[in-house]
């Protein structure tokens, strides 16, 4: 029989979770509700006049072809960032796991980029890839004769911000994959090796399934990262341009709300963004999590 501890007093458990609830209410639910109510108003930023307009802000958003484009851009961007950073993170972790010499040093160095702020990461990549002074960009243009120009072409800009955003996140993924790899019992892999399984086969049949919880966790985290935290990269590198090709949802919220002071539209956009993230996370839990193996 399972041993259970119970509270004698009926109030104590509520009292104990009260701080947590208060924090959540103040810092999450209250602003979220404020945002939700703001999205039904057209208001002057100084708060002198406010008009209830039902769904006006939402209708304006969804009849704007560029807003719909921005949603597509965001999803494309986040899938690209998650794919690149998870794949490379796993690849590097597998390699580092087999490193024979200076293991600690190699691992430490690989974690470093995570400590770099997104904005700085953006600037670093801009220095490499700017068409006029970027070393890499000049090399590409001179050697291959292609016209790489992220200031002018949307596709190039998208590639650049994907690289800048993924680079940082690779380290984060690396840490988790590394931990996941270390937790896999060596005996399993050795047994498979004795049975004659190739390294690739061993990876697919043993390592990969055992890493699925990590995968699942990282895919959720990476999607959230690319939706929100990449703001710094966009802000320093492209400001949503050229031609709105890198204008992801969170950047548009900032531009319309903070800079443009259209609070109603910005609030409506936040609500859409929030719903989108809830939906994606829900889908991930509903369909992806079923395939996850939590025990070996």
């Amino acid at each position: 029989m399972i041993k259970r501890s119970t509270f004698k007093s009926g109030y104590l458990p509520y009292l104990l979770i009260l701080p947590q609830i208060l924090v959540t209410l103040t810092f999450f639910y209250w602003p979220a509700l404020q945002g939700l109510s703001q999205s039904f108003f057209l208001s002057d930023p100084f708060g002198r006049s406010s008009k209830f307009v039902w769904f006006y802000n939402y209708i304006e958003l969804f009849t704007d072809p560029l807003y719909l484009k921005s949603i597509v851009t965001t999803i494309t961007f986040s899938i690209a960032v998650a794919t690149v950073s998870i794949t490379l993170g796993l690849f590097i972790a597998t390699m580092a796991n087999r490193a024979l010499r200076a293991t600690a040093l190699v691992r430490t160095l690989l974690i470093w980029p995570y400590a770099v702020a997104p904005a700085i990461s953006g600037i670093l990549w801009l220095f490499l890839l700017h068409p006029s002074y970027g070393i890499v960009a000049l090399t590409i243009n001179n050697w291959f004769g292609t016209e790489w120009n992220p200031v002018l072409y949307g596709k190039d800009a998208m590639i650049m911000i994907t690289m800048a955003s993924s680079w940082k996140q690779i380290s984060y993924n690396f840490v988790f994959f590394m931990a996941g790899l270390q937790a896999i019992p060596r005996s399993l892999i050795e047994a498979a090796a004795i049975d004659g399984a190739s390294p690739f086969k061993r990876f697919w049949a043993i390592t990969f399934p055992l890493l699925t919880p990590t995968f699942f966790f990282l895919s959720v985290m990476n999607i959230i990262y690319s939706f929100f935290e990449t703001f710094g990269v966009i802000h320093t590198v492209t400001q949503g341009g050229p031609g709105g090709s890198t204008n992801i949802l969170v950047y548009k919220v900032y531009q319309d709300g903070f800079v443009g002071l259209n609070l109603g539209s910005s609030a409506a956009q936040s609500v859409v963004l929030m719903s989108l993230i809830i939906l994606i996370t829900f889908l991930q839990f509903r369909y992806v999590e079923k395939k996850v193996q939590y025990t070996g």
Binding site: L42, S43, D44, P45, F46, G47, R48, S49, K51, V53, Y56, E60, D64, L66, S132, Y133, V151, L152, Y153, G154, Q239, G240, G241, P242, G243, G244, Q255, D256, F258, V259, G260, L261, N262, G264, S265
Partner: protein, 441 residues
């Protein structure tokens, strides 16, 4: 010993006189966006005001960049903790005017007993911040206008005469010059421009006396609509587009950093940017000679209009006492004195806002020694501002500039024709304008 005596005397005087004289000085808060070198200049100006009298103490606080200062002001106003003076960038003018949170400057000065001769101010600067009836709503503070910089060393190499500092060349002439430079292999590209919406559409329209928006550019009503898809602007953008094909024009980014870098690296021979570029180029350019000229105009425009300004102005916020407003008025008056205006201009390159200060500088031979500084001022003063060239008064102007930037970029990278892009810019901007109108109606 002596000090003690003084204190005793001072206390004695204070007891004898009415409270007002020895009371604590009244504090005036000013939130601004001036940082580093400019921030120091602002601090010096505040200090000299505080030292000049004992009734008021101005406290200046930098609240970050323009967006951040505006947001700080908005948040503070909602919390009823607003400063007396808020510096707001020019695109926020309409939002401030509609807010009902402001105390118009012309009223403030009149109530405080200053009879100011507004005709003594630079009209092209003042008119940007006036209402439709010509009343000044906010005090111009830092104002600039775009001019054209060019690489003199490259011009010399190609045997091109240096340009006049007062007479604008035509766009056709600029086309010939840049063609010569590019064809001879002297310059990798002809021209770059910073702030494309401000320099190539807003200023271009003003100089050619072509409306940017209906209702006198928005001055006469919130029901204004953009008009930049007119034949003149379309043909200008078409010309720039054809110039991109033979490298006479090169797109270097929305703001100033990219285009400026191209000019400094001698990737482009001509660079259009605000007069504030003078100080930046002086610092950064070491290996070639450069100079400045007025913005080009169309050959058909025999008497070009004034260019329009950019920058920021000082707004007085509601909700303070009469006494404090007296102090604000005294401070604004102090800022527009000749001494402060010439100091401000010399240190930052922003325009002096009164004709007095300008004439004073001229009489002292300042513009002879610094001919670059005269280019922008002359361009502003070359004509009396019309209803069309006095400025722009649009709601959600930040968003509109973003839209124009986006659409122009789609022209430069070949996704849209100039007409399609400008039509779409008008359509999208009008949606913004209607939302703004709905908010205040």
């Amino acid at each position: 010993m002596k000090l003690k005596h003084l204190v005793v005397i001072a206390v004695g005087i204070c007891l004898a006189l009415p409270a007002a004289v020895c009371a604590e000085p009244v504090t005036i808060n000013w939130w601004h966006a001036m940082r580093s070198a400019r921030g120091k200049v602002v601090d010096t100006m505040i200090k000299s005001f505080n030292d000049s009298q004992s009734e008021y103490v101005v406290v200046g606080t930098n609240k970050g960049n323009y967006d951040e200062v505006m947001n700080a002001g908005v948040a503070a106003f909602r919390a009823k903790k607003q400063p007396h003076i808020l510096q707001v960038f020019e695109v926020g003018t309409q939002t401030m005017m509609q807010s009902g949170a402001i105390y118009p400057v012309h009223e403030l000065m009149l109530k405080a007993g200053y009879d100011i001769d507004w005709s003594n101010y630079l009209q092209a600067v003042l008119s940007y911040y006036m209402d439709a009836d010509g009343n000044l709503m906010s005090m111009p503070f830092n104002s600039s206008t775009p001019i054209m910089y060019y690489n003199v060393s490259m011009f010399e190499k190609a045997g091109i005469e240096p340009l006049s500092k007062t007479e604008a060349i035509t766009w056709d002439k600029l086309g010939e010059i840049t063609k010569k430079l590019v064809d001879a292999g002297i310059a990798p590209a002809g021209m770059v421009t910073a702030w494309q919406s401000w320099t190539q559409i807003e200023n271009y329209s003003a100089i050619h006396n072509t409306p940017f928006a209906s209702k006198a550019n928005g001055y006469e009503g919130l029901d204004t609509e953009l008009m930049i898809n007119n034949p003149l602007v379309i043909s200008h953008i078409e010309r720039l587009k054809t110039w991109t094909e033979d490298k006479r024009f090169m797109y270097g980014g929305q703001k100033y950093q990219g285009p400026k870098a191209e000019f400094i690296a001698q990737n482009a021979a001509v660079y259009i940017d605000s007069v504030s570029g003078i100080a930046k180029l002086k610092k950064a350019v070491k290996d070639f000679k450069w100079d400045a000229a007025p913005l080009p105009v169309e050959a058909s425009m025999k008497k070009p209009q004034n260019s329009i300004i950019g920058g920021a102005s000082l707004w007085i916020l509601n909700g303070h006492s009469e006494k404090e407003y007296k102090g604000v008025a005294a401070f604004l008056k102090f800022l527009s004195s000749n001494e402060m205006q010439s100091y401000w201009h010399k240190e930052t390159g922003y325009f002096p806002i009164t004709m007095n200060a300008y004439n004073d500088l001229k009489a002292k031979g300042y513009f002879k020694e610094n001919p670059l500084q005269a280019v922008g001022i002359d361009q502003l003063n070359r004509a009396v501002p019309t209803k069309i060239s006095r400025g722009l008064r649009l709601g959600y102007f930040v968003q509109i500039r973003n839209i124009i930037n986006e659409e122009l970029e789609l022209v430069w990278n070949g996704k849209k024709t100039p007409k399609e892009a400008l039509d779409n810019a008008v359509k999208r901007s009008n949606v913004q304008l209607r939302t703004f109108e709905k908010t205040y109606k």
